[in-house]
Symmetry: C2
Subunit: 260 residues, 2 copies
């Protein structure tokens, strides 16, 4: 079973992509809505929460863990790999690899939460492989609350995106990483502002592709379900209207959220 956790509901964009690309596997998801958001909290607190979330998913039978949150991936991956024996997949590496594969100019933008941007993880990962590349990062802390409020097409959201992307305008980037699993819900507005010549890289979709390759190579690490026994369970630590609304938007169907 594939275990996936996030600070809340943003990681459902990863879960949705995994459902579609890996229909033969069961999923157990945990969204830590009671302590959301992670992106504005400290690395120590995010790591503590990530350890507890992983324990929960392992108790529920997960064979591998996807950290479907850029903030937690940025600061907690090493701690999880030290603590647990199962494969731990994070969202940074897949997005960084796709950005490297996409760019022609070697000039890549990254947007994410404060925790993600402050960690410098995208620069390290990209420039670790390609020291000749340039990475320009901007923290966009208000985009998560805007998405959670459903303000996906509002004028204020457009203005805030414009303000956040402004410092990237003269950097001649040709690739922009959506380094937060909430941001795919703002793809249209971000693309409109970044311009046609900039290719967006969606960490959610890239992570699902990465998991598919990983499980093709290492099929022994996970139990493949019999046809008809695949189950998808979505646990949350709190139930809110916003969670129901955003989940429905991401999955394009009503989703049963199980309160732990």
């Amino acid at each position: 079973m594939i275990g996936i956790f996030d600070s809340g509901i943003g990681g459902m964009t990863v879960a949705r992509a995994v459902e579609q690309m890996l229909p033969e596997y069961s999923i157990v998801y945990f969204g830590d809505i009671a302590r959301t958001p992670y992106g504005s909290k400290s690395a120590a607190t995010i790591t503590d929460y990530s350890l507890r979330n992983t324990e929960f998913l392992l108790q529920k039978g997960a064979d591998i863990i996807i950290i479907a949150c850029n903030s937690a991936s940025s600061v907690a991956t090493e701690a999880l790999r030290r603590e647990f024996q199962v494969p731990i997949i994070e969202v940074i590496t897949p997005a960084a690899q796709q950005a490297i594969a996409t760019t022609s100019s070697g000039r890549i933008g990254v947007i994410g939460t404060k925790a993600t941007i402050r960690s410098g993880i995208y620069e390290q990962t990209i420039c670790g492989q390609r020291p000749d590349f340039h990475v320009f990062s901007e923290a966009c802390p208000l985009l998560v609350p805007l998405v959670e409020e459903g303000w996906i097409n509002k004028q204020e959201t457009k203005m805030i995106i414009r303000r956040y992307l402004h410092p990237l305008r003269d950097k001649q980037i040709d690739t922009l990483v959506l380094g937060c699993t909430h941001y795919p819900l703002l793809t249209e507005l971000i693309q409109a502002r970044a311009g046609k010549r900039v290719t967006l890289v969606d960490s959610s979709v890239e992570t699902a592709k990465y998991v598919r390759r990983f499980l093709n190579e290492q099929p022994q690490l996970i139990t493949r379900e019999e046809a008809g026994t695949v189950t998808h369970r979505y646990y949350v630590s709190d139930l809110t209207e916003s969670a129901h609304r955003v989940a429905r938007k991401i999955f394009e169907r009503p989703l049963e959220l199980l309160l732990i």
Copy 2:
């Protein structure tokens, strides 16, 4: 010692007012930054956190507890009064009383978080005393993240305030309750939008006044400090840049935040 808790840093507007109006008492504050915000979470989760926060303050020697958070005051006051023997003071009653004292027309607006507005507590409190009054409420969930980002004078914040206050424009209110302890930081923008004929009621200041009256009437309930032994300790469950910045803004001095 006066114990004060909040979901994070908004409650420091109450603590600051208490420091100024009751300089002869020590304060122990707890800001639950690791689990902030409360206002978009469920009543059950907010109550659970409020119980734990109160236990922490009592362990630190608090004689009375101020719930310096409208969301927690709205949904958790009864549970705290059932669970603990000490006086529990919440922020709704002082603000509601002041609104009743202020209005001429009997038409009162209230803005707050989703948890506060959904609870209907201001209507119940105001109309419980004055059934002839009319209360018009609007949830403003994005104002807390905007304040925490320090976007106190930004054009986007003005637009968002305009959008939130729009439904109140034709209600002929003459009084508007700032039903969230973050909102005093937005007083100017809210006043500008509400118009000169509307008087703002600040739940933070009213609560400090209420505590002063309460302790004048019931001085036996709390240990009065000897001159020179007053201490103010500010505990938090996480340390973030935003917390330091907003605390400094509220107190107009650097504040030592103690991580628990």
